[in-house]
Symmetry: C2
Subunit: 229 residues, 2 copies
């Protein structure tokens, strides 16, 4: 009896889920707190992650960074220029990271060197949501310039994340940013998911973000929604 | 002899290409100039298209608009509020528009009412590039806040478009926007593709954009790269 429609897509997702689950076990056995950062292109992920790693370093935590892009090594180079251990994943046009790409990049990395691993996904609000990477925390970012309705228009990402980061708060006064409207829309799809307001330019919110990650790691990410599914 | 690898993905793309080609013939037989607008989420497509349609109306051209989003009818409602004939395509989570979705939305539309049809794709710099919609002009948009390296990081879109529109020029002074660097990067992947700098807030570039579309229509889009492939 076949009572389930099996598609090529669902088989690919299942294979990814299986590998993601193995990655999660590997990360947990190394006490490595792994987060998957997803946003539109140009929302300021790379600048924010660079600042965040520096804030974590002040608190004596080492962070490794994996950065996904369709092309160029620009982002890993930018992050490395701050003395952070960063590796680029070039997807050659693919619109999201998959667990197999993470596995290939970390296989020769000494994971016990790090307390945090930050994965910066390909800039895309849709496709990365479907592919778990073994992370214990999924972070959705949105910049003040993108429009307050984005959580409603991209509900899969925002309803499935563990933390929302609002970036480019320094530009808020210049783009008619309506903070109350954005928080209402986040709440409508993501319930009580925590939100941190940040600016890489002024430093607003960066230490609060680091504190949030440290607290989540100390609690063993026990309150975090399990991914995938 | 099979000398070509046929994948499920390539079969889906071919089916889309066939329908897109039929749509193109239909549009041409109605003297309808169709453009496909692709950008990141939040780059300001909807505001820009609303202004552009009003500028085209001043020059006595009627424009129909199709708007793609994963969820919500917000954008079609925003555009309609300016008296423009707009229809929403809700993709229910799909990351791009396909030719079949265009066909279903226009089948009961009187195409001869319009001189222009503008298709606002789902906000995504990757996946929409692979799916022709029968358009004779493909437009890539990038806002001043997104970072000057985006053309290098998303080469499939920028190398395959017929026009680049830079949006949110009003925010340029506040986000360290380097116009020369962006133009260099566009040129590196898109050669001599025309670029128009715009701001929906100040109106900068909107009439120039309308003039560009009108001139392209008058020339029968003869210089336009054919899509798909």
């Amino acid at each position: 009896m076949v009572n389930e429609l099996i598609t090529v897509e669902s088989l690919a997702l299942r294979a990814n889920d299986d590998l993601a689950e193995m990655l999660r076990l590997l990360f947990e056995s190394n006490s490595l707190a792994v987060s998957n950062w997803i946003s539109s292109p140009g929302s300021g992920k790379t600048a924010l992650i660079s600042k965040l790693c520096q804030s974590l370093a002040v608190a004596s935590f080492n962070t490794g960074v994996l950065v996904g892009d369709c092309a160029t090594e620009n982002d890993a180079n930018r992050i490395s220029s701050f003395g952070i251990d960063a590796r680029q994943i070039i997807t050659e046009g693919m619109c999201h990271l998959e667990a197999s790409m993470i596995y290939e990049k970390i296989i020769d990395w000494n994971l016990s060197d790090f307390q945090f691993l930050i994965i910066e996904n390909v800039g895309n609000l849709v496709c990365p949501s479907a592919f778990g990477l073994g992370e214990s925390m999924r972070v959705a970012l949105i910049s003040t310039t993108e429009g307050e309705d984005k959580p409603l228009k991209y509900p899969a990402l925002f309803s499935g994340c563990d933390l929302v980061v609002v970036t480019k708060m320094d530009l808020a006064p210049y783009c008619d940013f309506d903070q109350d409207a954005l928080l209402r829309n986040i709440s409508a799809v993501a319930g009580r998911t925590p939100v941190v307001m940040c600016s890489s330019k002024t430093g607003e919110g960066i230490d609060a973000l680091a504190d949030h990650l440290i607290a989540a790691r100390n609690s063993g990410f026990r309150n975090v929604t399990l991914r995938p599914n």
